[in-house]
């Protein structure tokens, strides 16, 4: 990686700094304009509601399941034992001691709250984030597998393999992802789930149809990237490997693919960044991914500005991490 600040500038420093200043001025104005506009339409910002959608403290109540009198209340460190007795039976509850609602001698009716405690709970946004990550990772792995097989088939001399690969790539690239997601879920999904049902098996959740559609979609692009990568390796490499007695498979595995991989890493990274962003479409088939989760929060908390900005920022964090990771890989493999 070259340090860009070393490149020679064509303007004097004062001019350069002036334009840097202009950049920040533009940035600031845009943010201010949006802010002023929201004030004009009397939008009430409620950022304070956002953290609870990630992590919330849930209050859990412990209720009595018998009627009677509290005969004993014993505190031990942060635990307490409450014993309730009536004529026929007696029952003890061990509860956290932070918020005891009864005293010794109290008369307890069925369903009375004996104590409460608070527990940390992952909010809907964390769950959504996890679903987005999970579906993207599975789709990326499957996409790589499909792409390598497809790419090799694409350059094969065998028409059955070659034409299959071409048909697959053209079909997928020629139709919108949204339509493909619908086909996977409403056409293939219905067929597969009904078949499974008729054999008495469990249905496959919509998440996996979403993953399949994303993998299939990315696979077509990866196929083309892999094909270009393999074809960019000089023919002499294949000839040298084959002349040493290596089979086609050995030649691919040890000589061509390792070299091609290095070249296809940058376009592959771009493709996978698109894939992560495209996973936001899965909300339409009832997969509660990051965007779907945000929309659900908006319907209850009525803070669309905050939630959608948050969602955008989280997608940015994921895609930026991926592109950093790929840059690291590129630097690591560029050791020749």
């Amino acid at each position: 990686m070259k340090n860009t600040s070393n490149t020679r500038r064509s303007m004097p420093p004062w001019k350069y700094n002036l334009w840097v200043g202009v950049f920040f001025a533009i940035l600031f104005s845009v943010v201010m304009l949006i802010y002023i506009a929201t004030i004009r339409i009397e939008y009430t910002w409620s950022w304070y509601k956002v953290p609870s959608t990630f992590l919330s403290r849930e209050v859990i109540e412990i209720s009595a399941e018998v009627e009677g009198r509290v005969t004993q209340l014993e505190r031990k460190n942060d635990q307490a034992v409450i014993t309730i007795k009536n004529e026929t039976e007696s029952k003890s509850y061990t509860v956290p001691a932070e918020d005891i609602r009864v005293n010794e001698g109290d008369l307890i009716y069925y369903g009375d709250t004996l104590a409460t405690y608070r527990k940390w709970r992952a909010g809907i946004m964390v769950q959504g984030l996890w679903i987005t990550l999970k579906s993207s990772i599975f789709a990326i792995i499957l996409g790589i597998i499909i792409g390598i097989i497809g790419g090799i088939a694409r350059i094969s001399d065998n028409p059955a393999l070659k034409w299959s690969a071409i048909t697959y790539v053209e079909l997928i690239r020629g139709s919108p992802l949204l339509v493909q997601i619908f086909i996977w879920y409403f056409v293939l999904g219905t067929m597969i789930n009904q078949l499974l049902e008729s054999y008495g098996l469990k249905e496959i959740p919509s998440l996996w149809y979403g993953v399949a559609s994303l993998a299939c979609f990315t696979g077509a692009y990866v196929t083309e990237i892999v094909r270009a990568g393999i074809q960019s390796i000089h023919r002499g490499q294949t000839e040298a490997a084959r002349s040493l007695g290596m089979s086609y498979g050995q030649c691919m595995r040890y000589v061509i693919l390792p070299q091609a991989m290095r070249r296809i890493l940058p376009p592959l990274a771009g493709q996978f960044i698109s894939l992560i962003k495209d996973s936001s479409l899965l909300g339409i088939i009832a997969v509660r991914d990051l965007l779907k989760a945000s929309r659900e929060v908006v319907t209850t908390q009525l803070n669309p500005f905050e939630m959608f900005f948050t969602a955008a920022a989280l997608y940015l964090v994921i895609t930026f991490s991926l592109s950093m990771f790929v840059q690291y890989l590129e630097r690591k493999t560029a050791t020749t």
Binding site: G236, R242, S243, L244, G245, Q250, Y254, T336
Partner: protein, 244 residues
């Protein structure tokens, strides 16, 4: 060792081009044969047919150590393991070190254990005079060094035959000598060699026989002495007058 009977090769690029026309020749074990001829005469195609990198037209036969490589039932990978090839553009594997270049096929094709492949590679690097570059990558080597590694890579398979396709044509003049020296050593050790080259000095000094090709056919075959001093054909005389 090599028995070529009536092979032809037609390219369709897209119009029909006859690169080889009914070539028949025989090369004995231990013999060093130099193939010369003007560019486009089919000498490289002939060489590449010998290890099936080009597939000769149906009808002919190429017997390598008694095995017909044009027979569909022949396992070509097995035959190729016995036939080393050195290319004009070296074709070293750029993602592997010099040592790995030489050990790869030994391990993958010959299934030799790592240590054995390693010591074999080191002794061959010693032989071609660049054992100090074992851990370097090909891109950091000069052309002459790369070509010597390529020769070592082919020799590591213990081939019975070595094919050289213009091994010095892509080299700077001062590096040609070091590669030719390695080839001369090989010839002296009794390796069966087929060499396509423009190095007439090498042909004169090392070859047992010279084959002159033109327009896809063998025009003249003879000892270097006969060939360079007293050729039979006018075409050969013309060619020699142009290059000497």
């Amino acid at each position: 060792m090599i028995d070529v009977r009536n092979i032809s090769k037609t390219f369709y690029v897209p119009h029909e081009v006859k690169a080889l026309v009914d070539v028949t020749t025989e090369i004995a074990a231990g013999e060093v044969v130099v193939v010369i001829g003007p560019s486009g005469s089919g000498k490289s195609t002939f060489l590449r047919c010998l290890n099936h990198l080009e597939v000769a037209d149906a009808g002919g036969h190429i017997l390598i150590d008694g095995i017909d490589i044009l027979d569909r039932k022949t396992n070509i990978n097995k035959v190729r393991a016995e036939v080393g090839m050195v290319f004009q553009s070296f074709n070293l594997f750029p993602h592997k070190t010099v040592l790995e270049n030489i050990t790869l096929a030994q391990q993958v094709v010959r299934k030799r254990p790592k240590e054995e492949a390693h010591s074999k590679a080191m002794s061959l690097l010693e032989k071609v005079g660049i054992s100090d570059k074992a851990d370097a990558y090909p891109d950091n080597l000069s052309g002459g060094q790369q070509q010597r590694v390529a020769i070592a890579r082919a020799l590591a398979m213990d081939p019975k035959i070595m094919l050289f396709d213009e091994p010095t044509s892509a080299l700077d003049p001062e590096m040609i000598g070091e590669v030719l020296d390695v080839m001369k050593t090989l010839a002296r050790e009794g390796m069966t060699m087929v060499v396509v080259t423009h190095e007439m000095g090498f042909a004169r000094e090392v070859a047992d026989r010279v084959i002159f090709m033109d327009d896809g056919a063998i025009v003249e075959v003879g000892t270097p002495e006969h060939f360079f001093t007293n050729p039979d054909h006018d075409r050969t005389k013309l060619f020699l007058s142009q290059i000497l």
